[in-house]
């Protein structure tokens, strides 16, 4: 097993599959009266969050607590970071307190990679800048596998602000490893020109959502921040929704079995309409549930829970 989880590209197919299989076992815990395993009793997991996050932080916290680990939540606001402490000094402090795992979210791309050089414990990237969010990709892969029964050979469209999306990058890397084919869709302003070559050869790019929809098993809508409009990535929210939003008529062009995903939080009416978000194809709520199981599996495997 690997020591850190920094990138969706760190995982080979066997390791990724082991995580997904372990997550499936962890999911059975959620159905019990007492949702707790003793696997990480006495181990310390630090949630080190330099960026606001609700669902990811809570998901990691729930995952660590269900494994009986001690959880310390560190948010940059109101901490010594506001007094000017560097990432390295904060890391060394946590190290001195005996953190077995550090779950880090940071606005700077690559911060978790730096952190991994400074601490002895395991580092889990919970989202760094516009770079990666590997546990999101794992929970997305888990959700696809449980809905559609497989990952190899699936055709997945990732739609929206790919340029700023760590979810998109980690998904391209992981899904390609697991044998799925990814097509990135969005306005050309929001898709880096070199992305397919830089991440995974074989990734397609399209600027035309309507032509892609009839041929996919999964369509993953990314959150589009309205602030992007002020930076002229697209002319207006209305035009964005018209060309790249998933509404009822577009959803009906999907194959019968196809599912609709969204990492949240959604902009209802922008990239996705309520009709789609609340439809039977939507896996949005399942994704949140699966996130806890997948993060339990990641912490369990990284901290050597399977060897003890």
């Amino acid at each position: 097993m690997i020591k850190h989880l920094l990138s969706g590209g760190d995982l080979d197919a066997d390791t990724a599959t082991e995580i997904l299989d372990t997550a499936a076992e962890m999911a059975t815990v959620a159905g019990r009266e007492i949702k707790k395993l003793p696997a990480l009793r006495g181990r310390t997991v630090v949630n080190l969050f330099y960026e606001d996050s609700t669902r990811t932080r809570i998901s990691f916290e729930a995952a660590a607590k269900r494994l009986s680990a001690d959880v310390i939540n560190f948010s940059a606001k109101g901490s010594s970071v506001t007094k000017g402490e560097s990432l390295k000094d904060t890391a060394l402090t946590l190290q001195a307190m005996g953190a077995d795992a550090v779950v880090v979210r940071h606005p700077a791309s690559g911060a978790p990679h730096r952190l991994a050089n400074w601490v002895d414990g395991s580092v889990v990237n919970a989202g760094d800048g516009t770079h990666e969010h590997p546990t999101q990709a794992l929970l997305d892969a888990y959700t696809m596998r449980s809905r559609l029964g497989r990952l190899a050979g699936l055709s997945v469209a990732v739609v929206g602000d790919v340029l700023h999306s760590r979810v998109a990058r980690s998904n391209v890397l992981l899904l390609t490893t697991l044998g799925a084919k990814v097509t990135l869709v969005g306005p050309p302003t929001l898709i880096p020109v070199d992305i397919a070559g830089a991440l995974a050869p074989g990734t397609d790019v399209s600027y035309d959502l309507d032509s892609v929809l009839p041929n996919v098993d999964v369509v993953m809508m990314l959150r589009v921040q309205r602030e992007r409009m002020n930076d002229s990535y697209f002319p207006s929210a209305r035009e964005y929704a018209r060309r790249y939003g998933l509404d009822g008529p577009r959803m009906r062009r999907l194959p019968e079995h196809a599912i609709v995903m969204h990492p949240g939080p959604m902009n209802r009416g922008m990239e996705i309409t309520p009709e789609v978000a609340d439809s039977r194809r939507s896996t949005i709520v399942e994704q949140v549930t699966n996130g806890v199981s997948v993060r339990m599996a990641v912490l369990y495997l990284l901290l050597g829970g399977n060897n003890r």
Binding site: P187, T189, D231, S232, Y233, P235, E239
Partner: protein, 199 residues
Amino acid sequence: MTAYLITSVSVVGAAPTDLLIRDGVVAEVGPGLSAPDATVVDGAGLVALPGLVDLHTHLREPGREDAETVESGSRAAALGGYTAVCAMANTSPVADTAGVVEQVWRLGREAGLVDVQPIGAVTVGLAGERLAELGAMADSAARVRIFSDDGHCVADPKLMRRALEYVKAFDGIIAQHAEEPRLTEAPRCTRVRSPPGSA
């Protein structure tokens, strides 16, 4: 069925020859053609050209119908040998929405003299601040593919970059008036001459 036989005409400047046109299509080219049903036009001393395309036309409609209309501009274009004109976006209101470009396109169809292809504005109101709904204009009945702020330069380099990238989705092009306004705003030394006889 209409036919025209143009005799002794120089096709794009070549040696004089005859040109037979049936139903708007060049049917035959060569010396000594004959077609009893055709209207004969003496082309001696004249040059035959393919229909010209004007990429930068001001049809002024909507807004300045006193100066020009789509119909009058189409008529002038046809008389001058043009079969297609691209209508600039600096109308009033500006051609920065699907509604305006469709209106100009429909007026062109109604005039029926040349192909009138509206050009869409790159930015809202030609103001160079926010992208206009380029995709909506591209998807409209007018199927706009050329976008320009006419005599206004899209001077913000980032906005220009976004525009160039954005139109890739529908094979559009941006026609730029390449004049950086901050370089040309300084007043030149001018002198207004007084009329003769002024004291």
